[in-house]
């Protein structure tokens, strides 16, 4: 079973993962911004993007 197929057949789990990725990194971004830790900012935003991509792919 491909990852995409798995995500679409396990919608609640996929949505939960997407939601956690969209929200949890945001909590660390404040500290990163205060300390101007730019690489960590992009790591955090990348995780948020990943969460949104999951939401996009789950039909």
């Amino acid at each position: 079973m491909t990852l995409l197929k798995w995500m679409r057949s396990h919608k609640p789990t996929s949505f939960l993962i997407a939601l956690l990725l969209m929200t949890v990194p945001s909590a660390g971004l404040f500290s990163a911004a205060n300390n101007t830790a730019v690489p960590w900012i992009w790591v955090g935003i990348s995780l948020i993007i990943l969460g949104n991509v999951i939401a996009l792919l789950v039909k």
Partner: protein, 516 residues
């Protein structure tokens, strides 16, 4: 012009995806967020620091709204699993056999009550099959419930849409509640007339207009009084209860032909209502009782943000500056979401003690809650983040200025339709408020209009149009056996919702002109 068109694209994108391609709000919201992120970085000078702070601010707003969404649905599942909703619904046909009164009591008053305590498509999903069971056509059943409950949306679902309005504008509740409650109360009475008309045309309306006026005034007045006393999270709930209390003797007056409806189980009805009594008591204790209020106010989630500025974008825009200030302050243990959690736990204990639950009910409640709220949580999160990024990169400001110069003095007429468009696209009054409230506020400020009245137009338009959102229509149609015939429902529903939003447009214009 280029700035304006680029800033408009995220909204157009969501519209096309949801209406044209029938994408869910979760998918469309994610697409909207990703597109806004690209625009912000490529064209509007978003730098890493701005994005970091914007995402953190969005997180606070999201927590503020989701706390209510999750726990409101939890409370609904606790009461539904105990059979409380079903018991209350079954009691209603005992009141009267008059078809006009039945549709008013169930399709309007009970639907409003359900919107107060549940929302999320529950009013139509519950009342439509009840009306079909009483002999109404499925089409009439779905349309009447949709029209009947729409006025109660903003202050329904324990006030989640109103919470989103407050969160998105950072304006106090006591400023926003009065006009919103007035607009929605008037829409409620108009909705009552429409429900009577849907049942039996002008004949039914002539016979029952007095009943509609009495019930509508009582519901609207109770709704208004509670909304302006800062207990807005139960305004629609109390309005619905007040409506049911008044509807009871009126329904006995219009009993119609006597047939055997069985015996009403008063004990079961009293137990069913206990959960909602707990809600009122908990809210009053937490919000009104000073010692409790003081203790529960000790933990506050508050973050101070520095001044945030964009860099010069590719279009050569001047940097857009967001002043320093705190993000959303969340008084954790007094938050409406926590109040609902306390109520859910207490109601569960009471219903369990009364023997209302079967084996495995706790698991079903939790699973049912999770599976229902996850999708909307994802869509709220992505849309909130999208809206905050748009705000911090100046896109909202550009749209507001463009609308102010394009529409000008006609803006009060247009404002409720913007809220309505937002709800139609996103499927919820909450999402519409998240996406458009900031824009509406900015435009009102630019045009020197009363912000509270414009925002009342936004949320009222959003509440009414949410009834015709495709996602809600699908839920209602499926429970009434009209799956696949959603188009038929929309065609009949659209003129009624359109007329209600026209009423709100007129009220917004009058409000802006008459109020200093």
């Amino acid at each position: 012009m280029m700035n304006f068109l680029l800033s408009l694209t995220p909204i157009i994108l969501i519209l096309i995806l949801m209406v044209g391609y029938k994408w869910s709000a979760a998918r469309a919201g994610a697409a909207g967020y990703l597109w806004v992120l690209c625009l912000a970085v490529l064209f509007f000078g978003a730098n890493p620091k701005l994005l970091a702070y914007a995402h953190t601010k969005a997180l606070l707003l999201t927590i503020d709204v989701l706390m209510i969404v999750w726990t409101a649905f939890l409370l609904y599942r606790v009461t539904d699993e105990a059979g409380a909703i079903k018991t209350i619904g079954e009691a209603l046909p005992h009141l009267t056999n008059d078809k006009g009164m039945q549709i008013i009591v169930i399709g309007w008053v009970f639907a409003s009550f359900l919107q107060g305590v549940g929302g999320f498509g529950v009013p139509v999903a519950v009342t439509a099959p009840m009306l079909v069971g009483l002999g109404f056509s499925p089409l009439v059943a779905v349309v009447s419930g949709s029209v009947g409950h729409a006025w109660a949306v903003t202050f329904g679902s324990m006030g989640s849409s109103f919470q989103a309005l407050i969160a998105s504008t950072n304006l106090p509740d006591y400023m926003l509640a009065p006009y919103a409650a007035i607009f929605l109360g008037i829409a409620g009475i108009a909705g009552g007339f429409m429900v009577a008309y849907i049942c039996g045309g002008w004949k039914a309306l002539r016979r029952l207009y007095g009943v509609v006026i009495i019930i509508g005034l009582v519901m609207g007045f109770a709704h208004y009084c509670v909304a302006v006393t800062r207990l807005w999270n139960i305004a629609s709930f109390v309005g619905g209860i007040a409506g049911l209390v008044v509807a009871f003797p009126l329904a006995r007056r219009f009993r119609g032909e006597q047939t055997d409806n069985g015996v009403l189980n008063w004990k079961a009805l009293a137990v069913a209502l206990l959960g909602y009594l707990v809600l009122i008591i908990v809210i009053l204790i937490v919000q009104v009782f000073p010692p409790v209020k003081q203790i529960l106010s000790k933990v506050v989630l508050s973050v101070e943000f520095p001044e945030i500025s964009t860099s010069s974008g590719i279009l050569g825009n001047a940097p857009f500056v967001t002043p320093a200030g705190s993000g959303r302050n969340i008084v954790l243990f007094r938050h409406t979401g926590m109040v609902l959690l306390y109520t859910s736990i207490l109601a569960y204990v009471i219903y369990r003690w009364a023997g209302c639950y079967s084996r495995g009910s706790a698991q079903r409640i939790i699973n049912g809650t999770l599976s229902s709220v996850l999708s909307s949580s994802v869509s709220i999160t992505s849309m909130v983040t999208m809206a905050v990024i748009m705000e911090h990169t100046g896109m909202t400001d550009i749209l507001a200025r463009g609308m102010a110069s394009g529409v000008g003095v006609l803006f009060p007429l247009v404002s409720p339709w913007i809220g309505g468009l937002g709800a139609f696209i996103t499927g919820s009054n909450t999402n519409s408020n998240v996406v458009f409230a900031g824009l509406q506020m900015q435009t009102a400020l630019l045009l020197k209009l009363n912000v509270a009245i414009i925002l009342a137009g936004q949320t009222a338009g959003g509440a009414l149009a949410s009834a015709i959102a495709p996602t809600k229509i699908i839920v209602g149609a499926s429970t009434a056996g009209m799956a696949g015939k959603e188009g038929e429902v929309m065609r009949l529903l659209a003129p009624y919702i359109g007329m209600l939003i026209v009423i709100i447009s007129i009220l917004t214009v009058l409000g802006v002109w008459l109020v200093i």
